[in-house]
């Protein structure tokens, strides 16, 4: 059970405020503290995810930090509001403990930058974030997280309560229940006073009439839409009508969907539902032949997926259902970060998606069925959001049902048969994709990822060196010379994609960018300025790349440079069906 690096989540019962019944009296604290600490030691907990309400949460956090663990705090609302609503009413001593714990935590994240407004939906969403982030961390470390609930059976199971968290947690095999009622009996304390039924009824009513709901949110638009000539726009909409037909066959309709011009905005109840819709639309747009509709260019959507508590209602001017609030605005700000043809998602969205896929996996395991998660979640990095929305941790959601990131630019029908490249669910991923800013500082990150990829497949140091050097040469050149106006060819923000894949004994590296057309094999040596760090790619540079790699090919398609490098390698373990 305790084989180290366990990730533990906590759903803690709040200590009692004045007018509520005493489900967690302060006299019980020492006993609970000992029980929590003992359980953390038993589990081998090293990483914790929790909120920071006075009572169970803070006790958990303090215990974990005292054991030298890494604490990740998530707060359901604006921090000052959280203190005012939850911490201060429990007393000044708790405020001091809260501040101290925040200072010692590895990170403090706000799940929804609004005021609580007494809304339990925010607390439940915060628990969903805790769950999702712990699960993503668990996947990265190959250690599924464990939930510790500090629970009193007497406390009403309202949204956001420990009972509610337990209800949202599928895996009862990874659950610890610290029963406050039992501990209370053992400590010889009196039973909690009966709850005032009127107060309880009011609380339940409050929970039911929350103006907010948790929704998955999509913002999408067509890349370089303004470059479509006027005469092509009706043709474009015919093309989209065909796409819509295909989408309807493959995915459930979102709860709401609005569109103006080329922009699409949709909301769904679950992240998986919305991902299914977005994936169906992406695939449709990528596989329908644009020429059949008189278009000389394939339209591609930029799609951003986000999630959070939003206000739901009817738009006063249109009478149609709508969602609004901080998270809707945030979703719109994430959209410009998306790369055309790929699903770009926020941390909130992938947290929900991961938890939903895990739920399906748990069911399958208990009922003896086979389940393979449809989506792979790839971390891209932290990106700044426009208009002072701070920054966002951005991910790519890859559709395993149609894993076509490689062939995104090919027109027409399905790509090559993929038997040699079919990713096995159990083997380490045989492909890796990175999205970079046009910044020389990104090259170090690429080198690290290449090294990790090659290590996982046991390709050897020589391969790592060769690929890293080749990519370094090409990326330096692209970043330095490819975006002279600070923009890509179509007025987009500069971007570069690097993808690695391993099939049989061949390692392929592909670099794509929308910068100035540049064929590395043909380039003359550029003028050297005074900056000695510039590396000339002509002549010597290309020679090096050809030395390091076995194959170098270039093509330009849809305004995008594509350089493909190949190298023969010998992975330590080969499946029987290589080549």
């Amino acid at each position: 059970m305790s084989d180290g690096a366990a990730i533990v989540l906590c759903a803690g019962q709040r200590v009692d405020r004045g007018h509520r019944a005493d489900f967690f009296p302060e006299a019980l604290e020492p006993v609970v503290r000992r029980a929590v600490r003992a359980r953390l030691i038993e589990l081998g907990a090293v990483i914790g995810y929790a909120s920071a309400a006075p009572g169970g949460d803070i006790l958990f956090g303090e215990a974990l930090v005292a054991l030298g663990g890494e604490l990740n705090l998530y707060l359901p609302c604006d921090r000052a509001d959280f203190v005012a609503q939850y911490v201060a009413p429990a007393g000044e001593a708790w405020v001091a403990r809260f501040e101290r714990l925040c200072a010692r935590a590895a990170r403090v994240t706000i799940s929804c930058e609004e005021n609580l407004l007494g809304d339990a939906t925010l607390v439940r969403f915060n628990n969903q974030m805790l769950q999702g982030m712990a699960r993503l961390r668990g996947e990265a470390l190959d250690r599924p997280p464990h939930l510790m609930v500090l629970w009193s059976a007497m406390a009403p199971p309202e949204p956001g309560s420990p009972a509610d968290f337990m209800d949202q947690w599928p895996e009862l095999g990874r659950l610890s229940v610290i029963d406050l009622d039992d501990l209370r009996l053992e400590a010889g304390l009196a039973e909690p006073a009966p709850v005032d039924p009127d107060a309880l009824a009011l609380a339940e009513l409050d929970a039911e009439i929350s103006p907010r709901a948790v929704r998955a949110i999509l913002f999408a638009d067509i890349a370089a839409y303004t470059r479509f000539e006027d005469r092509a726009v009706p043709l474009l909409f015919d093309f989209l009508a065909e796409a819509q037909q295909r989408v309807e066959e493959r995915a459930a309709a979102p709860l709401l969907i609005n569109s103006w011009g080329d922009a699409v905005h949709a909301a769904a109840e679950t992240a998986h539902d919305l991902a299914d819709y977005a994936a169906a639309l992406t695939e449709a747009v990528a596989t329908i032949d644009p020429a059949a509709f008189g278009l000389d260019r394939r339209p591609r959507f930029r799609m951003a997926l986000h999630a959070g508590p939003v206000f739901v209602g009817l738009h006063p001017l249109t009478g149609r259902s709508m969602v609004f609030g901080h998270h809707v605005n945030r979703a719109a700000r994430i959209e410009p970060l998306a790369l055309p043809g790929a699903l770009c998602a926020s941390q909130h969205f992938v947290a929900l998606l991961k938890a939903e896929m895990d739920r399906r996996a748990d069911e399958a395991q208990l009922t003896g069925q086979v389940y393979a998660p449809r989506y792979r979640i790839v971390y891209l990095g932290r990106r700044d959001l426009p208009k002072s929305f701070g920054s966002e941790e951005v991910y790519r959601v890859v559709d395993g049902d149609w894993d076509r990131d490689w062939d995104r630019n090919r027109d027409g029908g399905p790509g090559e048969p993929e038997d040699a490249m079919a990713p096995s669910r159990m083997a380490p991923p045989d492909r890796m994709q990175l999205a970079l800013d046009a910044d020389l500082g990104e090259i170090a990150m690429v080198a690290a990822r290449v090294e990790a990829f090659c290590a996982v497949h046991d390709l050897g140091e020589a391969v790592v060196q060769a690929v890293t050097l080749a990519l370094d040469e090409l990326l330096t050149n692209t970043i330095t010379y490819g975006f002279p106006e600070g923009t890509g060819g179509g007025g987009e923000a500069p971007w570069i994609e690097v993808a690695l894949s391993l099939a049989g004994n061949v390692l392929t590296a592909r670099i794509r960018d929308p910068g100035l057309a540049f064929d590395p094999a043909e380039a003359p040596a550029p003028d050297l300025d005074s900056d000695v760090d510039d590396r000339p790619i002509g002549g010597l540079g290309v020679h090096l790349v050809r030395e390091m790699m076995d194959g170098l090919e270039y093509r330009r398609l849809d305004g995008v440079n594509e350089v493909t490098l190949t190298k023969r390698v010998r992975p330590a373990t080969t499946d029987g069906d290589s080549e």
Partner: protein
């Protein structure tokens, strides 16, 4: 969710059909907890249950507390191997009287 109820040898046997998860846990709770206001021992038969999540466990924990508080015995029976394993490995099996089948459970409560 369908929850069948029958009496065997003076024991109330509840058989939930399908799944006890976050959607159906409230129904299970409404069916199970009031049984401890009565005098007959209670068996929950798992043979028709394909899936149980932590939400279902919470209902069982509350039932166990009621059972102890009211002095009305509770037993569980008929778990599939995967479900029984999860209960054992997680330690929750210790909190319940678990029998391989309904007959054994009923027998233990009427002995």
């Amino acid at each position: 969710m369908d929850i069948r109820e029958e009496e065997r040898d003076g024991v109330c046997v509840l058989t939930p059909v399908g799944r006890i998860d976050s959607n159906t846990a409230r129904e299970a709770e409404a069916a199970l907890l009031p049984k401890f206001d009565g005098s007959r021992p209670v068996v929950v038969d798992f043979t028709e249950l394909s899936y149980i999540s932590s939400a279902g466990l919470r209902v069982l924990l509350m039932a166990a507390k009621r059972s102890k508080a009211r002095g009305v015995p509770l037993a569980l029976a008929g778990m599939r191997p995967q479900v029984h394993d999860v209960f054992r490995v997680s330690g929750f099996a210790k909190l319940f009287a678990i029998h391989d089948d309904c007959t054994g459970a009923v027998g233990s409560l009427t002995a």
